[in-house]
Protein backbone atom coordinates (compact mmCIF):
# COMPACT_ATOMS: atom_id res chain seq x y z
CA UNK A 1 0.00 0.00 0.00
CA UNK A 2 1.44 3.34 -1.07
CA UNK A 3 1.02 6.85 0.27
CA UNK A 4 -1.11 7.54 -2.80
CA UNK A 5 -3.43 4.70 -1.78
CA UNK A 6 -3.79 6.15 1.71
CA UNK A 7 -4.50 9.56 0.23
CA UNK A 8 -7.07 7.99 -2.06
CA UNK A 9 -8.85 6.47 0.95
CA UNK A 10 -8.92 9.82 2.77
CA UNK A 11 -10.22 11.70 -0.25
CA UNK A 12 -13.02 9.23 -0.79
CA UNK A 13 -14.67 9.14 2.62
CA UNK A 14 -18.39 8.48 2.10
CA UNK A 15 -17.61 7.45 -1.46
CA UNK A 16 -16.98 4.07 -3.10
CA UNK A 17 -13.50 2.80 -3.94
CA UNK A 18 -12.11 -0.43 -5.35
CA UNK A 19 -9.76 -2.23 -2.98
CA UNK A 20 -7.52 -5.19 -3.68
CA UNK A 21 -6.29 -7.12 -0.66
CA UNK A 22 -3.25 -9.32 0.00
CA UNK A 23 -5.49 -12.39 0.36
CA UNK A 24 -7.06 -12.04 -3.09
CA UNK A 25 -10.25 -10.19 -2.35
CA UNK A 26 -11.38 -7.46 -4.73
CA UNK A 27 -14.11 -5.39 -3.20
CA UNK A 28 -16.05 -2.24 -3.72
CA UNK A 29 -16.32 -0.35 -0.44
CA UNK A 30 -17.90 2.85 0.72
CA UNK A 31 -15.36 4.40 3.08
CA UNK A 32 -16.65 5.32 6.53
CA UNK A 33 -13.47 6.56 8.24
CA UNK A 34 -9.71 6.21 7.86
CA UNK A 35 -7.62 5.66 11.01
CA UNK A 36 -4.05 6.41 10.00
CA UNK A 37 -2.73 8.03 13.18
CA UNK A 38 -1.90 5.02 15.29
CA UNK A 39 0.42 2.03 15.19
CA UNK A 40 -2.16 -0.28 13.59
CA UNK A 41 -3.87 1.86 10.93
CA UNK A 42 -7.05 0.60 9.32
CA UNK A 43 -10.11 1.75 7.43
CA UNK A 44 -13.78 1.26 8.26
CA UNK A 45 -16.06 0.72 5.28
CA UNK A 46 -19.52 -0.42 4.19
CA UNK A 47 -19.23 -3.38 1.85
CA UNK A 48 -20.85 -2.78 -1.54
CA UNK A 49 -19.69 -5.90 -3.32
CA UNK A 50 -16.94 -8.49 -3.11
CA UNK A 51 -15.64 -11.57 -4.92
CA UNK A 52 -15.10 -13.44 -1.66
CA UNK A 53 -17.84 -15.36 0.13
CA UNK A 54 -18.45 -14.97 3.83
CA UNK A 55 -18.97 -11.23 3.89
CA UNK A 56 -22.37 -9.63 4.06
CA UNK A 57 -23.21 -6.98 1.48
CA UNK A 58 -24.17 -3.71 3.12
CA UNK A 59 -22.50 -4.56 6.42
CA UNK A 60 -19.59 -2.60 7.88
CA UNK A 61 -16.08 -4.00 8.25
CA UNK A 62 -12.59 -2.94 9.20
CA UNK A 63 -9.58 -3.55 6.98
CA UNK A 64 -5.99 -3.04 8.10
CA UNK A 65 -3.60 -1.11 5.90
CA UNK A 66 -1.19 -4.03 5.92
CA UNK A 67 -3.83 -6.17 4.15
CA UNK A 68 -4.39 -3.68 1.32
CA UNK A 69 -2.52 -4.00 -1.97
CA UNK A 70 -4.06 -1.10 -3.88
CA UNK A 71 -6.91 1.40 -3.82
CA UNK A 72 -8.60 2.89 -6.86
CA UNK A 73 -11.43 5.40 -7.02
CA UNK A 74 -14.57 4.27 -8.77
CA UNK A 75 -15.75 7.75 -9.70
CA UNK A 76 -13.99 10.11 -12.08
Amino acid sequence: MTEADIQCLKENVDKAVAIETTYGECLIAKIIFVFDQEDQPDVFYDLVSTNKPGFKQGASYALRFEDIVSVKPTEA
Partner: protein, 252 residues
Protein backbone atom coordinates in the same frame (compact mmCIF):
# COMPACT_ATOMS: atom_id res chain seq x y z
CA UNK B 1 42.74 41.04 59.29
CA UNK B 2 40.28 39.18 61.44
CA UNK B 3 41.65 35.76 60.59
CA UNK B 4 45.20 36.78 61.49
CA UNK B 5 44.05 38.23 64.75
CA UNK B 6 42.20 35.08 65.62
CA UNK B 7 45.14 32.81 64.85
CA UNK B 8 47.55 34.88 66.92
CA UNK B 9 45.28 35.76 69.82
CA UNK B 10 46.27 33.57 72.80
CA UNK B 11 42.65 33.03 73.69
CA UNK B 12 42.21 31.06 70.49
CA UNK B 13 45.29 28.93 71.07
CA UNK B 14 43.65 26.89 73.78
CA UNK B 15 42.40 23.45 72.86
CA UNK B 16 38.85 23.49 71.57
CA UNK B 17 36.04 22.22 73.73
CA UNK B 18 36.18 18.65 72.28
CA UNK B 19 39.80 18.58 73.41
CA UNK B 20 41.42 18.51 70.02
CA UNK B 21 44.98 19.52 69.44
CA UNK B 22 45.58 22.83 67.67
CA UNK B 23 48.52 23.42 65.36
CA UNK B 24 50.16 26.58 66.72
CA UNK B 25 51.51 27.66 63.34
CA UNK B 26 48.50 27.11 61.12
CA UNK B 27 45.76 27.44 63.71
CA UNK B 28 44.13 24.25 62.47
CA UNK B 29 42.61 21.68 64.82
CA UNK B 30 43.49 18.04 64.40
CA UNK B 31 40.42 15.79 64.55
CA UNK B 32 42.01 12.52 63.46
CA UNK B 33 40.41 12.05 60.06
CA UNK B 34 40.71 15.70 59.08
CA UNK B 35 42.01 19.10 60.03
CA UNK B 36 39.54 21.78 61.05
CA UNK B 37 40.38 25.29 59.89
CA UNK B 38 39.50 27.46 62.85
CA UNK B 39 40.06 30.64 60.85
CA UNK B 40 37.60 29.66 58.15
CA UNK B 41 35.20 27.84 60.46
CA UNK B 42 35.17 24.65 58.39
CA UNK B 43 37.16 21.51 57.74
CA UNK B 44 39.97 21.79 55.22
CA UNK B 45 39.02 18.56 53.43
CA UNK B 46 35.65 16.96 52.67
CA UNK B 47 34.24 14.15 54.76
CA UNK B 48 34.92 11.33 52.32
CA UNK B 49 34.32 7.80 53.56
CA UNK B 50 36.46 6.69 50.63
CA UNK B 51 39.45 7.81 52.64
CA UNK B 52 38.75 4.82 54.87
CA UNK B 53 40.21 1.76 53.21
CA UNK B 54 37.55 -0.64 51.95
CA UNK B 55 34.66 1.78 52.34
CA UNK B 56 31.91 1.01 49.79
CA UNK B 57 30.32 4.46 50.03
CA UNK B 58 32.30 7.58 49.08
CA UNK B 59 30.11 9.83 51.26
CA UNK B 60 28.64 7.57 53.98
CA UNK B 61 27.76 10.46 56.30
CA UNK B 62 25.72 12.42 53.77
CA UNK B 63 21.98 11.79 53.66
CA UNK B 64 19.18 13.56 51.81
CA UNK B 65 17.08 13.43 54.99
CA UNK B 66 19.30 16.13 56.40
CA UNK B 67 20.60 18.52 53.73
CA UNK B 68 23.10 19.95 56.18
CA UNK B 69 25.05 16.70 55.91
CA UNK B 70 25.51 17.32 52.18
CA UNK B 71 28.00 20.04 53.09
CA UNK B 72 31.05 17.82 53.47
CA UNK B 73 33.14 20.61 55.02
CA UNK B 74 30.88 21.70 57.87
CA UNK B 75 31.50 21.06 61.56
CA UNK B 76 28.79 18.78 63.09
CA UNK B 77 26.25 19.91 60.46
CA UNK B 78 26.56 23.50 61.68
CA UNK B 79 25.02 22.62 65.04
CA UNK B 80 27.84 22.74 67.63
CA UNK B 81 25.48 23.45 70.55
CA UNK B 82 24.10 19.92 70.63
CA UNK B 83 26.70 17.97 68.68
CA UNK B 84 30.40 17.39 68.67
CA UNK B 85 32.97 15.71 66.50
CA UNK B 86 35.00 12.79 67.85
CA UNK B 87 37.14 11.75 64.91
CA UNK B 88 36.71 14.17 62.02
CA UNK B 89 33.40 12.77 60.79
CA UNK B 90 30.08 14.50 61.27
CA UNK B 91 28.04 11.67 62.78
CA UNK B 92 28.13 12.78 66.38
CA UNK B 93 25.14 13.72 68.50
CA UNK B 94 26.04 14.88 71.96
CA UNK B 95 27.73 11.95 73.67
CA UNK B 96 26.47 9.47 71.09
CA UNK B 97 27.98 8.81 67.73
CA UNK B 98 28.52 6.34 64.92
CA UNK B 99 31.72 5.52 63.06
CA UNK B 100 32.86 3.29 60.26
CA UNK B 101 35.25 0.40 60.80
CA UNK B 102 38.01 -0.75 58.46
CA UNK B 103 35.64 -3.01 56.49
CA UNK B 104 33.38 -0.10 55.63
CA UNK B 105 30.62 -1.27 57.99
CA UNK B 106 28.79 1.23 60.18
CA UNK B 107 29.38 0.84 63.88
CA UNK B 108 26.82 2.61 66.04
CA UNK B 109 28.17 3.49 69.44
CA UNK B 110 24.93 4.93 70.76
CA UNK B 111 21.52 6.10 69.65
CA UNK B 112 22.58 8.79 67.22
CA UNK B 113 19.66 10.40 65.41
CA UNK B 114 21.55 10.92 62.15
CA UNK B 115 23.06 7.66 61.09
CA UNK B 116 23.77 6.77 57.45
CA UNK B 117 20.97 5.44 55.22
CA UNK B 118 22.60 2.01 55.23
CA UNK B 119 22.03 1.78 58.98
CA UNK B 120 18.30 2.48 58.62
CA UNK B 121 18.03 0.02 55.76
CA UNK B 122 19.64 -2.63 57.94
CA UNK B 123 17.21 -1.90 60.75
CA UNK B 124 14.19 -2.05 58.42
CA UNK B 125 15.35 -5.35 56.92
CA UNK B 126 15.95 -6.81 60.35
CA UNK B 127 12.50 -5.73 61.53
CA UNK B 128 10.87 -7.16 58.41
CA UNK B 129 12.69 -10.49 58.83
CA UNK B 130 11.69 -10.66 62.48
CA UNK B 131 8.07 -9.98 61.55
CA UNK B 132 8.09 -12.67 58.87
CA UNK B 133 9.65 -15.17 61.27
CA UNK B 134 6.92 -14.47 63.78
CA UNK B 135 4.26 -15.07 61.12
CA UNK B 136 5.94 -18.29 60.01
CA UNK B 137 6.02 -19.58 63.55
CA UNK B 138 2.30 -18.89 63.98
CA UNK B 139 1.02 -19.92 60.55
CA UNK B 140 3.82 -21.85 58.91
CA UNK B 141 5.59 -20.60 55.77
CA UNK B 142 3.40 -19.02 53.10
CA UNK B 143 1.91 -21.73 50.86
CA UNK B 144 0.35 -19.86 47.96
CA UNK B 145 -0.73 -16.44 46.88
CA UNK B 146 -4.37 -15.95 45.92
CA UNK B 147 -5.59 -13.43 43.43
CA UNK B 148 -8.27 -11.20 44.85
CA UNK B 149 -10.82 -9.75 42.45
CA UNK B 150 -12.42 -6.61 43.73
CA UNK B 151 -15.76 -5.35 42.41
CA UNK B 152 -15.24 -2.39 40.11
CA UNK B 153 -16.87 0.87 41.04
CA UNK B 154 -17.08 2.83 37.80
CA UNK B 155 -17.92 5.99 39.68
CA UNK B 156 -14.74 5.75 41.71
CA UNK B 157 -12.68 4.99 38.61
CA UNK B 158 -14.04 8.01 36.82
CA UNK B 159 -12.61 10.22 39.52
CA UNK B 160 -9.11 9.19 38.38
CA UNK B 161 -9.58 10.68 34.92
CA UNK B 162 -12.16 12.28 32.67
CA UNK B 163 -15.73 11.35 33.51
CA UNK B 164 -17.85 9.62 30.88
CA UNK B 165 -20.06 12.69 30.74
CA UNK B 166 -17.07 14.91 29.92
CA UNK B 167 -15.76 12.45 27.33
CA UNK B 168 -19.09 12.43 25.49
CA UNK B 169 -19.24 16.22 25.58
CA UNK B 170 -15.73 16.47 24.11
CA UNK B 171 -16.51 13.87 21.45
CA UNK B 172 -19.48 15.98 20.36
CA UNK B 173 -17.33 19.07 19.84
CA UNK B 174 -14.02 17.56 18.76
CA UNK B 175 -12.62 18.69 15.39
CA UNK B 176 -9.61 16.78 14.11
CA UNK B 177 -7.51 14.58 16.38
CA UNK B 178 -7.70 15.17 20.11
CA UNK B 179 -6.97 13.11 23.17
CA UNK B 180 -8.34 12.60 26.69
CA UNK B 181 -7.23 10.30 29.47
CA UNK B 182 -9.37 8.03 31.62
CA UNK B 183 -8.67 5.76 34.54
CA UNK B 184 -8.74 2.45 32.66
CA UNK B 185 -10.19 0.46 29.77
CA UNK B 186 -13.54 -0.08 31.45
CA UNK B 187 -14.30 3.61 31.57
CA UNK B 188 -13.27 4.01 27.93
CA UNK B 189 -15.45 1.11 26.81
CA UNK B 190 -18.42 2.42 28.74
CA UNK B 191 -17.96 5.81 27.08
CA UNK B 192 -17.77 4.10 23.66
CA UNK B 193 -21.04 2.25 24.27
CA UNK B 194 -22.81 5.40 25.30
CA UNK B 195 -21.29 7.27 22.34
CA UNK B 196 -22.68 4.97 19.64
CA UNK B 197 -25.94 4.22 21.49
CA UNK B 198 -27.83 1.05 22.24
CA UNK B 199 -28.73 0.27 18.62
CA UNK B 200 -25.12 0.31 17.47
CA UNK B 201 -23.88 -1.98 14.71
CA UNK B 202 -20.73 -3.98 15.36
CA UNK B 203 -17.87 -3.66 12.85
CA UNK B 204 -15.75 -6.82 12.62
CA UNK B 205 -12.09 -6.98 11.73
CA UNK B 206 -11.36 -8.70 8.39
CA UNK B 207 -7.68 -9.20 9.04
CA UNK B 208 -6.24 -11.94 6.80
CA UNK B 209 -9.50 -12.28 4.90
CA UNK B 210 -11.33 -13.68 7.89
CA UNK B 211 -13.94 -11.87 9.87
CA UNK B 212 -12.37 -11.92 13.30
CA UNK B 213 -12.78 -9.87 16.43
CA UNK B 214 -14.70 -6.67 16.76
CA UNK B 215 -12.83 -3.66 15.44
CA UNK B 216 -15.47 -1.17 16.43
CA UNK B 217 -19.09 -0.15 16.18
CA UNK B 218 -21.13 2.60 14.62
CA UNK B 219 -24.36 4.28 15.49
CA UNK B 220 -27.56 3.55 13.60
CA UNK B 221 -27.19 6.71 11.55
CA UNK B 222 -23.53 6.02 10.89
CA UNK B 223 -22.38 9.42 12.14
CA UNK B 224 -20.85 8.15 15.38
CA UNK B 225 -18.13 5.53 15.38
CA UNK B 226 -16.19 3.88 18.17
CA UNK B 227 -13.02 2.05 17.20
CA UNK B 228 -11.75 -0.54 19.58
CA UNK B 229 -8.83 -2.89 19.15
CA UNK B 230 -8.66 -6.64 19.54
CA UNK B 231 -5.52 -6.47 21.67
CA UNK B 232 -6.29 -6.15 25.37
CA UNK B 233 -3.17 -4.10 25.95
CA UNK B 234 -4.12 -1.32 23.57
CA UNK B 235 -4.31 1.87 25.49
CA UNK B 236 -6.95 3.81 23.60
CA UNK B 237 -10.37 3.84 21.93
CA UNK B 238 -11.28 6.25 19.14
CA UNK B 239 -14.57 8.11 19.27
CA UNK B 240 -15.27 9.50 15.80
CA UNK B 241 -17.78 12.22 15.09
CA UNK B 242 -18.40 12.27 11.35
CA UNK B 243 -20.48 15.42 11.66
CA UNK B 244 -17.42 17.41 12.76
CA UNK B 245 -14.67 15.17 11.42
CA UNK B 246 -13.44 14.75 14.98
CA UNK B 247 -11.42 11.78 16.25
CA UNK B 248 -11.20 11.73 20.03
CA UNK B 249 -8.55 9.35 21.40
CA UNK B 250 -9.74 8.07 24.78
CA UNK B 251 -6.59 6.76 26.46
CA UNK B 252 -5.99 4.95 29.71
Amino acid sequence: MFSTACSTNPCFLRPRSPGKERDQESGNDYFGARYYGSNGGRFLTPDFGGMIEGSPDPVPWATFRNPQTLNLYSYVTNNPLTRRDEDGHVQVCGNQYATMNGDGATVVHANCTEQPDSFFQTMVTAASNWHQNQLNQMNGPPQMQMDIVYPVDLGALESLGESIENILAKAESTVGNQSVRVANRQVAEQAAKEWVGEDAEAIPDTHGGKSGGQAGMKSAGGTKIARTTSAATKGYINLVNKATGGNLHVRW
